[in-house]
């Protein structure tokens, strides 16, 4: 089982409360009563800057959650941050461990260039200031899966600072409306991952797997600008998309992991519950931060790594060995299209709703699927959007499948949409064909249509005959039409379609009926 690659730092989640104006927190009601009492301590301890500077008048405000996050994303790299060990999942335990990873005495860290590039790239994509000089620090704590007794991180002077992450919340009343929001990025730091402890309760043993120890992480620290779980979840999702677009991190959490984290975030109470149990046991208020404060990490500069120096086009030494230096400007030029730009392009190019552009990007592989269908079909982009987002995605969700696991290929859907576009089949027949395609019987849409005889009747004479028969058999309905009941004609259309086994185009039926009724 692959470990989730984008993880929340267990010590990383920072919750705090701040006084804000009553209306500021959209969506969820503010906690009340005893809950707020418990959280007050967190607010004072966390010392987060308040987003609203106005002094609230007495009785005019409510408590509102302020969420700051530290997100650990594993850097996509073949080797670890400070050693040449491979990074690979589901390898046998302790098979990817260098002498350094096991912290054998005398071993020294050697910085992985790829990880630095990934951090710079991510910093640029998040509008950060890239520090031309950054430093590494040791953070000390004793834990069985931390073999050196400290983690190398960037506490004092991280590689990137002062950025921003823009994400969208679909909260407007109008359908498809997305409200842009921004959370400030405090810093991005490079750091080592720890190993993995496996507790064997039966034998009361802890087994340690160091395969992950020393793997490079990007820690992205968000300022407490998020006001609720939904915002936090959406911001993290956006960050995930950015990292994936950059290729700096696969950031591919298992679905259950996303769900677990989103529900955890959206249910702020869960975090509070942890505090509550603590509270009951001790009979007094003890906040999470307080608990954490007891751990003094005794930060110290990492003496074995010189300051990390980065260059740009102007500061690059002329005699520099390209293998030994990193040029920020060069990395900037290599930045791929970011999700926000992709979405903008989708809206412009295909006239889709902003909301749809979000959905297309949020599902792994869905955008690519969509674009492949577009490439191969004559159908209108709006039609394609609607089919991909409603029908295709609906089937996937129902069976909990990833896009890559879909039984229907982009080509098959494209062919199906072509049949629909050329009016060879009706849209209800198209849905029937899609359902057949989903069964993975290896048939093309064309084959299914002909086998099931789903083509629309092209023979006008035959269709006129069906219409005539229906009118003859239902004189009362015909009377209603003639009396001016506008809905009655639909009933006739329905009857004709039924008579044709749904193979007739309702528009054509309507036209014939109108003609025959001389309307």
């Amino acid at each position: 089982m692959a470990a989730p690659m984008l993880r929340w730092g267990c010590r990383g989640r920072r919750w705090a409360l701040a006084w804000v104006d009553g209306g500021s927190c959209h969506r969820r009601g503010a906690p009340t009563g005893s809950t707020s009492n418990r959280i007050r301590g967190q607010s004072s301890l966390a010392q987060q800057p308040l987003r609203t500077a106005q002094k609230p008048r007495k009785g005019e405000h409510k408590w509102a959650a302020v969420v700051g996050l530290e997100i650990h994303a594993q850097i996509s790299s073949n080797s670890k941050l400070f050693s040449g060990s491979q990074v690979r999942f589901s390898a046998p335990p302790n098979s990817l461990v260098s002498f350094f990873d096991a912290s054998l005495p005398g071993t020294l860290p050697v910085l992985n260039r790829r990880c630095v590039e990934a951090a710079v790239m991510t910093g640029l994509a998040l509008n950060c200031h890239i520090n031309k000089k950054s430093l590494f620090d040791r953070k000390h704590y004793f834990y069985a899966d931390l073999p050196a007794g400290y983690q190398i991180t960037q506490q004092r002077l991280p590689i990137a600072v002062n950025g921003s992450l823009t994400y969208g919340i679909s909260a407007g009343k109008e359908r498809g409306q997305v409200i842009p929001k921004t959370v400030r990025v405090k810093q991005i730091q490079l750091e080592q991952d720890s190993g993995k402890s496996l507790h064997d309760d039966l034998r009361s043993q802890t087994l340690v797997d160091l395969n992950r120890a020393g793997v490079g992480l990007l820690e992205v620290v968000l300022e407490p600008d998020l006001s609720c779980g939904e915002e936090a979840a959406t911001a993290v999702r956006e960050l995930q998309l950015i990292l994936q677009a950059l290729g700096t991190s696969q950031a591919n959490m298992a679905d259950y992991e996303i769900q677990r984290q989103i529900s955890e975030l959206e249910n702020g109470g869960e975090i509070l519950n942890e505090t509550r149990s603590f509270h009951e046991k001790l009979g007094c208020t003890v906040s999470m931060r307080d608990k954490e404060a007891k751990q003094d990490y005794r930060f110290m500069p990492e003496p074995n790594l010189p300051p990390l120096l980065l260059y740009d086009a102007t500061s690059l030494p002329t005699d520099a060995d390209p293998q030994q230096v990193i040029n920020i400007d060069q990395i900037r030029e290599m930045l791929p299209e970011l999700p926000s730009v992709t979405r903008e392009r989708l809206v412009q190019q295909y006239g889709m709703l902003p909301e749809h552009s979000f959905t297309l990007l949020n599902e792994v592989g869905l955008l690519e699927f969509f674009q492949n269908v577009i490439k191969e079909t004559r159908a209108e982009p709006k039609k394609v959007t609607s089919w991909v987002l409603n029908i295709f995605l609906g089937y996937l969700k129902q069976e909990n499948l990833a896009v890559s696991e879909s039984p229907v290929t982009p080509s098959a859907l494209a062919e199906l949409l072509d049949l629909l576009d050329s009016r060879t089949i009706s849209s209800s027949a198209a849905k029937q064909v899609f359902e057949e395609l989903w069964k993975r019987e290896g048939k093309t849409p064309g084959q299914i249509v002909s086998e099931k005889q789903l083509e629309l009747m092209q023979d006008r004479g035959a269709l006129e005959q069906f219409c005539y028969s229906v009118m003859k058999d239902h004189p009362q309905v015909v009377m209603d039409v003639k009396k001016g009941n506008p809905r009655a004609i639909n009933k006739l259309i329905g009857l004709v379609r039924k008579a044709t086994l749904n193979r007739a185009d309702p528009a054509v039926i309507k036209e014939i009926l109108e003609k025959q009724l001389s309307l």
Partner: protein, 528 residues
Amino acid sequence: MLGQTLREVSAALKQGQITPTELCQKCLSLIKKTKFLNAYITVSEEVALKQAEESEKRYKNGQSLGDLDGIPIAVKDNFSTSGIETTCASNMLKGYVPPYNATVVQKLLDQGALLMGKTNLDEFAMGSGSTDGVFGPVKNPWSYSKQYREKRKQNPHSESGDSDWLITGGSSGGSAAAVSAFTCYAALGSDTGGSTRNPAAHCGLVGFKPSYGLVSRHGLIPLVNSMDVPGILTRCVDDAAMVLGVLAGHDPKDSTTVHDPINKPLVLSSLADVSKLCIGIPKEYLVPELSSEIQSLWSRAADLFESEGAKVIEVSLPHTSYSIVCYHVLCTSEVASNMARFDGLQYGHRCDIDVSTEAMYAATRREGFNDVVRGRILSGNFFLLKENYENYFVKAQKVRRLIANDFVNAFNSGVDVLLTPTTLSEAVPYLEFIKEDNRTRSAQDDIFTQAVNMAGLPAVSIPIALSNQGLPIGLQFIGRAFYDQQLLTVAKWFEKQVQFPVIQLQELMDDCSAILENEKLASVSLKQ
């Protein structure tokens, strides 16, 4: 043959006057004879003989690897040696066999050197006497020298017998004793605050501390990463330069090594005249605790330079008096951090307690480390606490910068090399030494040496003369960062002028009864 310098024996090997195997066996036999010195923790006899055999083949085929091919060397037991136990003289690492060689060890082996064994030290190199290791103290070969014994006979107050043997200084005392007693031709020490220069001075050897960043620390079990350097102990300056030539250079495994290597092979020119040299005498190094004998030798050395035409000026290193305190804070802080990995989980000692991981850590570390190490861990962690960090660690770092700047200013004022004492006094008897605790001793003994480590400069201790007691006295030369070659060139000139006498150990070696008696004593001290 055994009393020769590395350069001399290297020539003898090339000329076929002796084979590597013969040389190796002679050294092994001397190691056995001098076992009572407690210089070696591990004697890698089989490895050395096998290496000698291979070296011999190369010489026969005319494929010698160079000046070090077939030369017996010893390595301080805090350098990792593949397949050979590396203990740091600590219970914590007893039985620990590294799976890799330190870069410096590998470089020596690649040149065909014969690894005779791993030498004794203070536990984790924390000390200045080589008295505080789990394998017992190292004895200074000069305790048994003709020079010292004759002086003692003249002194009616001296006690008879062996009870007042002298310390070697430290922490690389095992390496110093090994070279001094002719059991090898060069040895690696480590130098964090003077650990190579101090025992070199006490044992009448050249003790060289290269510029920080010139020689790889990869595989050296760290004391203070930002100050540690592999040190070189030899019988003459040329030998030290030869070894430095092999060791120096960037190591991809040590990011703090510099890219521009020095010229290799490193051959020192013989200075014909010193008239273009400017020698600086730091006035702050004249402290009341300095023995009058060393003080007078120091000033005679300055006179020597002056009389030969060098410019000798007094310089000031105004922050010197803060140096030892500053060193203490930085050293213990890094120690606290570096020692965190010794938790009994992956390697080394592990206690029997298994009620919880935390209890296991605590007991393992209590059993594994001696009082000195535990004391430094404790104070280091105190300095690193959030509430103390600014007041101690950051301040100490600032003072460190001032101390480094003192040296820069001195060199910028035109000084080429600084001349100072290496130690306050000559080697003292063990019983005298242990009257003070390790911390006090280290603070006293590192007084002239540790500032150099904080500034990352090259420095070398050169034996100048024997004291009235017949014991060696060394003086220290300090150079600009990465001017190691210039420093050694000056040291070589000085060495030639002073003609320091060779230790006379022959009588002792032949005196079996003395050895037996000493061996008994050595085993007693081991149990302490």
